[in-house]
């Protein structure tokens, strides 16, 4: 009774498969969908943001919390009046807010010069609380620094374009990938999935089809250079005979997914992207330029030239 779902649909499901003309995957690999109703804490946005953001952004976020905490407690000390703190007269800050702020900084960071010192019960109580939060702050800063530092830091880069290029006397669909980090990746595997809308005569509406594409090779053990992933466009390919216009009309999307092992941490890493003819991601009659330099005594590859192509005539009649 049960008819299995069409294979190779990656789990995107019927809802998306049958109706959507939109791009499923953005070029950076993120999904072009949104989940709502998660609740503020449950969605852990903060955590993902802190771990996923850039290092300068992370430092800025830490600095902002530091400044905010110091200022907040400074307001507290200041509100307790000039007698809450004691400092030599003549020092900058006098008995006003700035003195409270300087003191707050020295407390939150646990420096505690003591030149400005708490002398009232209220100030002492605030100090106890601020010192505790200062310890928590340092713990969080350290914890997140490490959570960031210990993430697999693989950065697999994909060529900007998907090529339809000459291959073995026929044509091949080609993507070039490289490891943009200094650490090595091993055991790299690739999966490529093709998705296209077809008009379903029985249902009288377009239905999205998915197909896993056969690859020249699906896995490399060592990955010191680059890898050109090739799907031969032979008669058995679901793209056989399709033109650029066909791809655009069918809202075709080609998903590429890589998995590998980061040797520095021995953790698995993954990367994905997709290509749409509609968005100018597919190049016909081109091939990837050689990016090796063999002049020195060590073979050199220039990753910044990953997407360089040159014109190449495709054989006819395919």
């Amino acid at each position: 009774m049960a008819t299995p779902l069409p294979p190779d649909d990656l789990g995107l499901g019927r809802v998306v498969s049958d109706e959507s003309r939109q791009r499923m995957l953005r070029p950076d690999g993120s999904f072009n969908v949104r989940r709502t109703g998660l609740g503020f804490f449950r969605s852990h946005r903060l955590y993902h943001d802190l771990v996923g953001m850039s290092w300068p952004g992370f430092a800025a976020a830490l600095g902002a919390v530091y400044a905010a905490m110091c200022a907040l407690f400074a307001l507290g000390y200041w509100a307790l009046g000039p007698a809450a703190l004691d400092a030599p007269t003549g020092d900058a800050g006098g008995t006003g807010f700035l003195r409270a702020l300087y003191f707050s900084v020295q407390t939150f960071s646990t420096i505690g010069f003591g030149r400005i010192a708490p002398v009232s019960h209220g100030a002492q109580a605030l100090v106890a609380l601020e010192a505790f939060l200062g310890i928590l702050y340092a713990a969080l800063a350290t914890g997140f620094t490490f959570a960031r530092a210990s993430r697999p830091d693989a950065d697999i880069v994909f060529s900007r374009h998907l090529l339809v290029a000459p291959y073995q006397g026929g044509r091949g669909l080609m993507v070039r990938v490289a490891n943009a980090r200094r650490g090595e990746l091993t055991d790299v595997s690739a999966e490529v999935t093709f998705s296209v809308l077809h008009l379903d005569a029985a249902l009288d509406r377009p239905v999205r089809h998915y197909a896993a594409l056969e690859l020249e090779r699906t896995r490399v053990t060592l990955f010191p250079l680059t890898w050109t992933i090739v799907h031969p466009l032979g008669p058995e390919s679901p793209l056989h005979g399709l033109t650029d216009d066909d791809l655009r009309a069918g809202d075709a999307e080609v998903f590429v997914r890589l998995t590998a092992v980061d040797e520095t941490t021995m953790q698995p890493v993954t990367a994905r992207t997709s290509y749409r003819a509609d968005d100018g991601d597919v190049l016909w009659n081109a091939r990837f330029r050689d990016l090796f330099d063999r002049s020195g005594d060590v073979l050199t590859v220039d990753v910044s030239r990953l997407d360089e192509t040159e014109p190449a005539e495709l054989p006819d009649g395919l």
Copy 2:
């Protein structure tokens, strides 16, 4: 000679299989059993509590330890008498317990204003110990903060109900699951196991049977939206022809187990739950409501509506 155990019993074993009418798995996925005789330290309760509790609870626990340590050492300084510490007369706290407490806070947190300072051998010795414990405290706070932050933070949510719903002209057993975190999950696999008590004629007592249920699909590669896990209730299903009363009489329990990979940390994650007709977990004649919003330019799914259902007539005569 050796008759293998019945397959699919998940390892719960004969003891449980043959006699227990109780729920094996609570809805939150924890086991409805208790292990004793572990010994206090061996069972690592503290560790699991500190890692597993909520963030506010964790902060409260840290705060309680901070306060307790400061108070404990304050008692020590206070017991050494008013001459152990020195501070300007006129400061709040005088020479009593509160002064000792303020000093203790400033020592444990390693602030050390110095306005209140240790001047006796006893106080100096206590300072050395308290400073060491303060460093340990910060180390533990930081370590546990990170241990919490680096845990796979997947939160797979299951629909509250298991549905018996129309499926492909017949019936299907359906559970809907979603990812309640912002980070993505990939390579999600499902296992569903059915367990029921049957009267064994030969033994003249009920015996619990287990069966792995066939699924429409057992794995999705990408999981940006939701997944409705379906077991078709065809003739080959062990639930074929059973009614709600049958499920209740047999103390039937349906176990659902998911495994996936958390893309943020690339760590495996798992989740499980179970459904019992007895506890009102099974809904007949219903189907899951669509929770997609296609009005914007980005497909949106509202996870908070995961359990929304609508009436649906089941075909007769299964």
Copy 3:
């Protein structure tokens, strides 16, 4: 040409296989061999000790380093003479070594009361160094605290004895295992290997043989209770017909290895042990006692009774 090594020898190799009468694995799972020539740093003894030792031992090690560092720098400040530091006269410690020690503590822990303060160039230079080492110390203490806290903390316990017990009308070799931690283990797999010395007629010397033993079941998905691992002693078993004397004469050793996944950290864990008849590890005519308590509303298992057995008559003629 190449004759493969005997299978199932676990990699212990010919050297060990053919000559050794000694126990290969200690009951705690460690190897009864020694590797030398590693070099001090290369062998990373310190790291493994710090991560593997008990929590009280770890705290004691940290305390010893703390005390040693403080004392070492105290010697430095003291050697610089009484004018290197300044403090109010009348404070405990005077101008001698104890004052230097108190100051050193307050510097290493970064408290810095300032009551005792550095006033010479030499003292300031020492302060800069000690403060740096104090930061490194805190970093190491924190790093190792977390390295310890984040280790998979599974503690799989094995029954003290290997039983030859009645099983399904015949006999079975049985080990009982349990999870001694509060966190759950899943996907538990067992491998059992038997090793015995046989006199090799051709070589005229004993040769050690290895054989993987067939198990009633090799894997349980859920492990909330205990698991009795059973090898049926049928005609096809390499132990079939052997007596306790045979096992002792052949220096027989039974290796048990478990692998599982710790659900708290989702990391793999492993445990192993071995049993030797020679060392009184094998019990005949016994079976494991039931350690379940079904009286409450929650099934309870007492792990501390894991090794409790009761006499049981073995069937004859096997």
Copy 4:
């Protein structure tokens, strides 16, 4: 249409395969190639350096940053003039740069004696910034300390030479490996690949061929001692009949790759090396010396003697 790439080429690809006479893998396992064009931050050189360098080097790097930061801020305080800070006259440092440096140290490390204290607005602002950077510094130092401490610390050592040794009446290619760490490794697997340049008659140029070599055994479960990996040089071996001169002429390279599980962290580890006849890595007519000491009650293996060999006559006519 698509002709699959020759198997076993490890992913080094055509570019390298067909033209390169250079060594692909250095003896330490790193690739003899260079990737450029990565961009400074993207290549994460700093991260890999900090995690991968030696412990003394790491401590030196931390010390250099500490000294640089302290000196940098000292310049700032000094530039603010003698009135920015206040300290008792007569202390070493006077009102010059050294006083600013001492103060900077006490601020960056969050000691804060207070004997030298900030008294101008500018100095207070610098203090706030330096304290923040001091916290970040401690966080980074701690995070990297742990990132280093938590790396799988396996150190698999390979024998310096690849031997062509007597084996089972014929010849075998042999490498000996050992675990140079105190922690145990389990589930060790080996892959050995042979690569050689052949003159391709059709293309009239040399083409590099790859072949996976059959091993006597490919996996050991336990690894307490050493393992001699053996490729029998029988008629079916791609090296059958080759001489040392053949290996040199063909720029032959033998790649050895090991994967294992580090029991301390339960993380996977890997190691690789290669041997080239050209570089004197291949020894003929030799066998590995026994490095076991059976005199004590515990079997002992001396890892430092891993590469010790003794002459051994190879059988003729192979």
